[in-house]
């Protein structure tokens, strides 16, 4: 059975193709403003990678903020459902899942089949989302890739007062003037963001096996701050940004937990 999952996020379109529940192709294209065209592009890349055509697909599930904008699909499934399904597939012990994307932060609790028990979403405010680190990397004039590793070189804790991304930018400017090192500022930024996410997670509670997915999971600075805040080590799967699309493809295949 060949299935495809499409995750139309706020910033990127991710596609995963499964053949008998094994990943055979994945692609990631910037959504931009031509979401439909770029989704088609992502699908074409994945199909080519898998060496199949559209007609070979048995079922397609679309998810994410722009799920209805996929060029074609059989069903849609909520992103929280897809996230937890994908997380349980990659890490069967996962009972708590955190997804930090470009414009949304989500926390979920699920059972061993990846079924949602409870969840919490922030989609109103950039403070706990990837958009925050993007804005801060601009303010610090450090590339997004460098921002996380930079935080690890910090030698002191500087508290960040602002929660709002817009105010935080001004605060960073003040820090620059006060000659705070970029490493310390970077840590302050990631601490602030981790604190937003962990307070969201605490609302629903969490278990010891926490899986962190979404693009921001690739940011080592954020992961380090979050681990410290939660008092545990979150599991970050390889390619965390594809977990939503993977979950969608699993849902299309009717996958319900490995064991």
């Amino acid at each position: 059975m060949i299935t495809m999952g499409i995750d139309l996020g706020a910033k990127n379109v991710k596609v995963v193709i499964l053949k008998d529940n094994k990943i055979v192709a994945k692609s990631n294209v910037l959504a931009g403003f031509e979401v439909k065209e770029n989704a088609q592009k992502a699908i074409d890349i994945a199909l080519k990678q898998a060496g199949i055509s559209k007609d070979d697909l048995d079922k397609v599930v679309s998810t994410g903020a722009g799920e209805k904008l996929a060029p074609f699909y059989d069903e849609t499934k909520s992103i929280v459902g897809c996230d937890s399904l994908g997380a349980v597939y990659l890490h069967p012990a996962a009972r708590s899942v955190i997804d930090v994307g470009a414009e949304e932060g989500r926390g979920m609790r699920c059972d061993n089949t990846g079924k949602i028990i409870d969840f919490e979403v922030n989609e109103k405010c950039a403070a706990g989302a990837g958009a925050f680190t993007e804005a801060m990397s601009r303010a610090l004039e450090v590339s997004l890739e460098e921002l996380g590793p930079l935080a690890l070189k910090s030698t002191q804790d500087i508290p960040m007062n602002a929660q709002c991304t817009v105010f935080a930018e001004s605060e960073v400017v003040t820090m620059v003037h006060n000659k705070v090192s970029k490493a310390d500022m970077s840590k302050a930024i990631h601490d602030a963001m981790a604190s937003r996410i962990s307070s969201m997670i605490r609302k629903i509670g969490f278990d010891k096996d926490v899986v962190l997915v979404g693009g921001v999971a690739k940011n080592i600075g954020f992961v380090t701050s979050l681990n410290k805040d939660l008092g545990l080590e979150v599991v970050v799967p390889k390619d965390p940004e594809y977990v939503g699309a993977l979950g969608a493809a699993l849902a299309a295949a009717g996958w319900k937990g490995g064991a």
């Binding site: 414009e103 950039a126 804005a135 929660q163 709002c164 003037h177």
Partner: protein, 291 residues
């Protein structure tokens, strides 16, 4: 140089005023300094009458901003710091006013200053500042009876408006007027967060919306956002607005419609309310110590 011009758009006009008919000599001189997150004001009173003020952008250093503001207010008046009998600092940088004797919260100062500017009938003062928004209830003497504020989020603040002016390439002074030049009111921008609203506005521009229509959508979203704050505390008449956004007709007109109560007018610069209040407190404190 192009970049330089672009980033200047959010800059509102700094201002200074002095009363040419008053002579400060032989009078009781008190001053109030409001060092806000975005703007700083200095007000000088002679025997409780408004003598001079300045209104400028806050720099990165609070003490320096306070000095600059008072120096500008005193320019060409012959006044020096020594002549100020008592100075009260207020606003977010209030503890960093080097020449002040006391610091008083901006909530108290805005109520007191609002009472001076709008008269004793004012009961609700909405202060729309650079990085926060406060709804204040006060009595006939300008004493605070209740208040509510948002200082967590840029939505509904002057900073949010600056970000938009910058994005659309419109001078912040023109935002209000432009936003009213629409035949039909567009639906408000749906995102609360300024970061997301920016993305949404970029999408609207791409769809072919003219700038004034996007500004209308944003001003109406901001009015709506502030309305939710006002609804929580209630609006008692008379109702006045202080702070920089009070100068933005696009927001004020739409807010007036939502509240359904006329918004009071003033001949004073709406941004100096906090500093006036501080200067009035300075006068009261000085008179108390003299007794």
């Amino acid at each position: 140089m192009v970049e330089q011009q672009r980033t200047e758009l959010w800059r509102w006009t700094e201002s200074r005023w002095m009363n040419p008919d008053l002579d400060w000599r032989g009078k009781l001189i008190t001053s109030g300094i409001d060092v806000g997150s975005v703007s700083s004001q200095a007000v000088i009173l002679t025997d409780g009458e408004l003598y001079a003020y300045s209104n400028m952008r806050t720099g990165v250093d609070s003490p320096d901003s306070a000095m600059k503001a008072i120096n500008w207010a005193m320019e060409n008046t012959g006044l020096t710091l020594k002549d100020l009998a008592y100075t009260v600092g207020t606003g977010y940088g209030r503890v960093n006013v080097p020449f002040s004797q006391r610091a008083i919260t901006e909530i108290a100062c805005h109520a007191r200053g609002g009472n001076f500017m709008y008269g004793p009938t004012v009961r609700t003062i909405l202060d729309m500042g650079g990085q926060d928004c406060k709804a204040i209830h006060c009595d006939e003497k300008g004493k605070v009876t209740n208040f509510l504020m948002n200082d967590k989020c840029a939505a509904g603040t002057g900073r949010g408006m600056e970000v938009f002016a910058d994005l659309l390439g419109v001078s912040i002074n023109d935002v209000g007027d432009l936003s009213l030049q629409v035949d039909k009111e567009p639906p408000p921008v749906s995102s609360t967060c300024v970061v997301y609203a920016k993305t949404e506005a970029t999408g609207l521009l791409r769809e072919g919306w003219p700038k004034n229509k996007v500004l209308a959508a944003y001003c109406s979203a901001m009015a709506h956002r502030i309305m939710t704050l006002l609804e929580r505390i209630g609006v008692e008449e008379d109702f006045a607005i202080t702070g920089g956004i009070a100068k933005n007709k696009g927001v004020v007109t739409r807010l007036e419609k939502e509240v359904g109560i006329p918004i009071m007018k003033t001949k004073y610069d709406t941004q100096i309310a906090g500093a006036i209040g501080a200067a009035l407190f300075a006068k009261a404190l000085l008179e108390k110590t003299k007794k």
